[in-house]
Each structure stands twice: as C-alpha cells, then as structure tokens.
Point group: D2
Chain length 134, copies 4
C-alpha cells in the first residue's frame, strides 16, 4: 500500500472554511501521481510525454464522511484492488489522524493519448500492479 501526506491549503477550502470537493480530487490525483512514480516506477511526465500514454479515470465513486479544515494534514493510502488487461482499480482512503475523512474508488485505463484507445499493460507494469494487489 502506497502512502503519502498532503496539507489542506487555503486554495482547497470553500466559503464554509472546509475542503471544496473538486479540490479533493486534485489532491487524490496528486497522490496517484506519486503512486505512479513509486509503484509503477514511471513518472507521469515520462508516461505522458515520453511514452505518449495516460491513465484517465473512467469511473469513480466517493464517500465524504467528515469535512476537512484548512491546515489539516491529510494522509492518502492508495490501494490496488483489481488489475485488468489495460485497467486498474484503485481505492484511495484519506485520513486525518485516526479519522477517516473520505474515500474514492477509481477505475483507470492505460490509454494511448494520440488515439484515445486503451493499451494493455506492459508486462513489467502488470507485474508491479499484481504485487500491489491488496
């Protein structure tokens, strides 16, 4: 399981002083960006511009349990829950201290950017994903 922490900044908060949910998805995407480098072993820059591949989200669902406030340090845990031929399911659980704040479940698909078509996982990446399966 990959873990990273990110602060909830002023930029992420709404007029109620709590996290605005579209910014939560930016933070989750930052966590998945770090997961990509750490777990897949390829930076998003290299994947995107070097290999012409992307990992767009095709479905997601989210539960927002408890609001987060300016200055909270959020802990992101990224778990691989399914590996397909060209897809991956991820669960991202976000805690602050011992408190579960929200969770997002993603299905993402490896995609050739120029064509917008799915691309099977290269064997090395597939192997890395299988190792991560919860």
């Amino acid at each position: 399981m990959f873990r990273t922490s990110l602060p909830l900044r002023f930029a992420h908060c709404d007029p109620a002083g709590i996290a605005y949910y579209p910014r939560y998805f930016e933070l989750c995407d930052a966590a998945i960006e770090d997961w990509t480098a750490a777990v897949l072993g390829v930076t998003r820059r290299e994947m995107h511009f070097g290999q012409g591949l992307g990992l767009p989200t095709v479905t997601l669902s989210a539960d927002f349990a408890i609001p987060s406030r300016l200055g909270d340090v959020l802990d992101f845990a990224v778990v691989v829950t399914r590996v397909g031929r060209s897809s991956v399911d991820l669960t991202v659980d976000i805690d602050c201290g011992a408190e579960r704040r929200f969770s997002v479940r993603y299905t993402q698909v490896l995609t050739v950017l120029a064509e917008g078509k799915s691309h099977p996982w290269p064997p090395e990446l597939h192997e890395r994903l299988i190792k991560e399966l919860a």
Copy 2:
C-alpha cells in the same frame, strides 16, 4: 429538468488537451449552483451567507464516457431523482451535441454550516424538489 450550458475552457484542460476530471466537478458544481437559484428559488449566496445553510455532497459517483476537448460547449441537465427529509439525490448528465460525455450522481444534504448538522428541508423547498422529481 434544469438545463444550462458551459464552455470547456483552457483552464479546464490537461496536458492531453482534454478535460481534467477535477475541473469537471467544478463545472457540475456551477450547474448545480444555477439549479439552486432556478429550482429552489434561493441563490447560493443567500443560502450560505443569509441563511447559514449549505448543500455539501456526501456521496457521488461518475462515469466518464467520452473525453471533452477545449472549446466544447457542454450541456448540463440536472435531474432530481430522490428527495429525503434533509437530502436530495441529483443526476447531472453532460452532453456535447448528441453525445453523452459524462454523468454524475450526487447525494447532497442540507446542512447548518455553523454546526455541520443536517437540517430538514423547509416546506417550500421540499415542495419545489418534489415537483422536480423525474
């Protein structure tokens, strides 16, 4: 059913030149902001600052069918699918021309901002929501 249209701007697009999904949620939230004023008959400013109430999202799920590109004009349809004591389920379907681009299903809860606690729909708002039920 409430409808509004919003352009997909440069600010919403990622390095692949397509919509970045956290920005999609900003656009959906803008559509729901307009829906609030038109259907509930209260602006978000009045709700938030005048009445001290908010309508935070407690769950959402989204399907991203076809990517959107810079300059696309997106049509948002906001449909009420369930009305609870203090909650509402909304489906937002986003088309470009005849093409379904993505859909989001929301559960939102009327909340007293100062306490973070749910608040039953005032009778007039409840009535308006029931009329909107698909």
Copy 3:
C-alpha cells in the same frame, strides 16, 4: 473594446467568502479566451491545436481594489494598449455594477508551442489588433 460577463461562483471563493485571487486570473483568462475568438477571429482551440500557436503571459501586474463576493456578476473589459511584432499588451478591467473591482495589465507573446519561440503576428491578426488599439 471587448466586453464579457462572468459570474463569481462558489468555486472562486475562499474561506473569507470573497474571490480567491488565483481564480480571478482564471476568470481573466476566460475573458481573454473569448476576446481571442471575437477580436482575433480564431478560437483558442484552433490557435492551439490547429496552428500550434499559443499566447502565453510574460508579465502581468494587478491591482485588487475591492473584494468580490459569491454571486457577483463581473464585467470584463479587454483593451489592447500596445501591439508589438509578436506581442500584445492587454488591460483587463473588471467591474461589478459601477464599481471597479480589479485590473490586470498583461504582456502576452504569440509563441510556436513546439519550439517555445515567439512568432510574428500574421498580417491579418496584426491588422485586427491595430484596429483594437485604444
């Protein structure tokens, strides 16, 4: 002078309930996006993806006179103040009703995206810009 109006949305506001200045720049950029289509006669999509050209900002300065609040409708006036060989100076003045909220002065440079190098204005665009000179 090109004019357009954009609402200040929940997404643009900070925990003080007023516009968060980085979002102001997104709104100004949206106004310049509409100016590009209307005044230069080319959409940003066509400029970017069709012609491989961009109009990045090289300098800007901004004065924030009076804060804007959720729900304000902001009027953007885009004025051409100088036209160079490959550059343009723009002033964007943003009012709400009779009140000046903020102003931004930009220098932008027509750029070949693939090379990151400046590109002289094509004669037709240069002519359109000269006509716009305040």
Copy 4:
C-alpha cells in the same frame, strides 16, 4: 529568507504541457502559507479562524521568464522587502535547479475579515517581519 519546494503537478499544467499561470499563483500562495507559519509564527488557520484576520493581496506583479514542465520541482524563496504599519511587501522567486522560472512581487495588507479593514501589525509580528527584511 524562507524557502520551500513544491512539485509542479499534472493539475497545474495546461494543454501545452507547461504550467498554467493561475496555478502558479496557487503555488505561490501555498509558499506564502508556509512562510506565514514559519516566519510570522501563526498558521493561516489560526490567523483566519482564531484571530479573524487575513492577509489579502492588494497588488502583485509577475515576470514569467521560462516555462515550467510537469514534474519540475520548484524552489520558492519568500523575501520581505518592505514592512508598513499594516502591510508587507514580499518577493517570491521561483527557481528550478539553477534556473529562474518566474518572480512575483506582492503587497499584502493585514485585514480584519469581518470588516474588510486594515489592521496594524501586532508588535510581535511587526518585529518578526523587520527581522526578515532583506
């Protein structure tokens, strides 16, 4: 001089694959948020919600020298260049390695949020700012 580093993420990049300038201001604001805690000795959460004070920007000017790309790690240096009765001038210089990417000069004013009026620096904060003067 206060220094911090922040990565340029996918969320910050535009369809040209380079930093979109409104996101640069979010990053600078994050750096100033960290500066506030480290140099003024008060977190933005405490300042905002505990003391009812904010530090809005009244003017800024920026020079964008060299574009930044997805994955760049940006080094932010925050320098105090002037201290007024209730204001402060800051220069934020942003480098990647040995390369100056962009610079922003700010004037910010300590403000009572409820009234939107300037507030003189408390003596302790004034003293801390004077010590920081370049």
